[in-house]
């Protein structure tokens, strides 16, 4: 079932890409392949949401065109969120695609929604890559898979982003219900497609593995100083405005604060406010970690003998270790 929808989505790539791909570098190609993966994923999602029944039709219509490249989409099933990030750079190849990406980056949506929206934009990127013919074919396939969406698909092919809104709205409404089933479906096609693909086009499989390695390496968003970072990527400012990124920055900030707040050895005795010398600062009279100078410690021992930090009796928490330590470091006391 899902496999069919994948195939459905991938029609454009094989139809028009070969001559383009031949000219372009391998990097470009991987980018496009990833786009098609995303395309697949979106289509898959769409078909699951919209019509479980109508997929039967699609199977018949689309199977002949099924390319070997499906394997990307299926292999990526488990690392989908990463794919989203990796794929975006590829979109920079085409200007039209870039436009879509920008709108995607700027949309203040969190993970489930942004995922689908990026899928939507990437789909349109693929269409542009393929050219007008692929665009029409994909739109027709879209109408084939789910009639109610054909209109918006066509708009998308024309370079209109209006469909993104529809996508996000629907994704919002259905994400909660669909996430689980979606993941299930994502896992299934993996095995199915792996069976199919080698028969169709074994050469592609080898390349796929190489690309998958590439994807494995690039599991994070592009760094600004990355040599492979496509120029078409949104600039840093836009990335920072993306909620996920800003959240991450915030998180790291909190981390830094946490580590900074980790209590070091105090410079002065908290009781008498005198500076702690080397002996004092290596003196840890209580397991609670409360430090103080030897003078204050002696004063407390003469008094009630309770640790200022935890109010436990020093004698109790000391036991053998600290007492012996005391005997050395504190030898001046008994002589007084």
């Amino acid at each position: 079932m899902v496999y069919d929808s994948i195939a459905n989505a991938l029609i454009p790539s094989p139809a028009s890409n070969p001559k383009d791909l031949a000219k372009k570098k391998r990097v470009n190609r991987t980018a496009k392949l990833k786009q098609s993966k995303l395309d697949v994923r979106r289509e898959q999602w769409l078909s699951q949401v919209k019509n479980k029944g109508s997929k039967e039709e699609n199977r018949g219509a689309d199977r002949p065109k099924t390319p070997a490249r499906d394997m990307h989409g299926s292999n990526e099933g488990e690392s989908r969120p990463m794919v989203k990030l990796v794929i975006n750079p590829g979109g920079g190849e085409e200007n039209d695609g870039m436009m879509n990406h920008y709108s995607d980056w700027e949309s203040p949506s969190n993970s489930p929604t942004s995922h689908t929206s990026s899928l939507a934009s990437n789909r349109s990127v693929t269409n542009f890559t393929g050219g007008s013919s692929s665009g029409s074919s994909s739109s027709s396939s879209g109408s084939g898979s789910c009639g109610c969406y054909s209109g918006s698909m066509t708009e998308e092919d024309d370079g209109d982003d209006g469909c993104l809104d529809d996508w996000e709205a629907i994704a919002d409404a259905l994400a909660a219900d669909e996430i689980k089933s979606e993941t299930d479906h994502n896992i299934n096609p993996e095995s199915q497609v792996n069976d199919h693909v080698p028969q169709l086009e074994p050469v592609e499989t080898v390349k796929d593995e190489g690309m998958n390695c590439h994807v494995q390496v690039n599991r994070r968003a592009w760094r600004p100083d990355d040599a492979f970072r496509p120029q078409g990527l949104p600039n840093l400012l836009k990335q920072n405005s993306f909620p996920m990124n800003s959240e991450r920055n915030h998180g790291s900030g909190a981390w830094g604060f946490k580590t900074a707040g980790f209590s070091p050895i105090p410079m002065t005795c908290p009781i008498c406010c005198e500076d702690l010398d080397l002996t004092d600062s290596s003196f840890l009279p209580c397991p609670c970690g409360y430090r103080l100078c030897l003078f204050c410690y002696k004063r407390i021992l003469e008094d009630n003998g309770r640790c200022p930090g935890c109010r436990k009796q020093y004698e109790q928490c000391e036991q053998g270790i600290v007492t012996s330590k005391m005997a050395r470091s504190y030898s001046m006391i008994p002589s007084r």
């Binding site: 908290p270 009781i271 008498c272 406010c273 005198e274 004063r299 200022p308 930090g309 109010r311």
Partner: protein
Amino acid sequence: MVDFGRVQKELQECNKDINVSGISVNPKFDNLINLIGTIPGPVGTPYEGGTFKIDIDLPEAYPFEPPRMKFATKVWHPNISSQSGAICLDILKDQWSPALTLKTALLSIQALLSAPEPDDPQDAVVAQQYLKDYQTFASTARYWTESFAKTSSLGVEDKVQKLVEMGFPEGLVRSTLEAVGGDENLALEKLCSG
């Protein structure tokens, strides 16, 4: 011998973030033994809006012994004497730790204002009222806050002046004011009735 170095440092630290905590500690006289602390009444309590002054006397052994604190402002609270201002708070007694400071002690008193412990009372009358008739307790506490803890109320001399202008003899006005705890309205009532 009081550790003046520490007291000095405590005063600096406390008055540094007075804008945040609202808690201040200042010398009462020209020494660092007798201090005056002020705490704002906690929001959401009958003490809200009031500024409460607390007399602080530092013992010789401070910080190894707790500071002696009592309310200088009259306050209606189960754990604070309505007569003497004595405070029933464990950290000012056996639970004191040298790690505590004047500021943390005042913070604890502020917390006590928002969370009375009527089962361990200092003022039995107030505690009984708190347990039996909370509404009356709250209104009384609010009235006391209005009467004694509002900064807008006039200084003693101004009150004396005001009452003397009404025709009462100054000596009687002073003694009456003192008897009612400095509240000019109560003093006026008492003067009129007596």
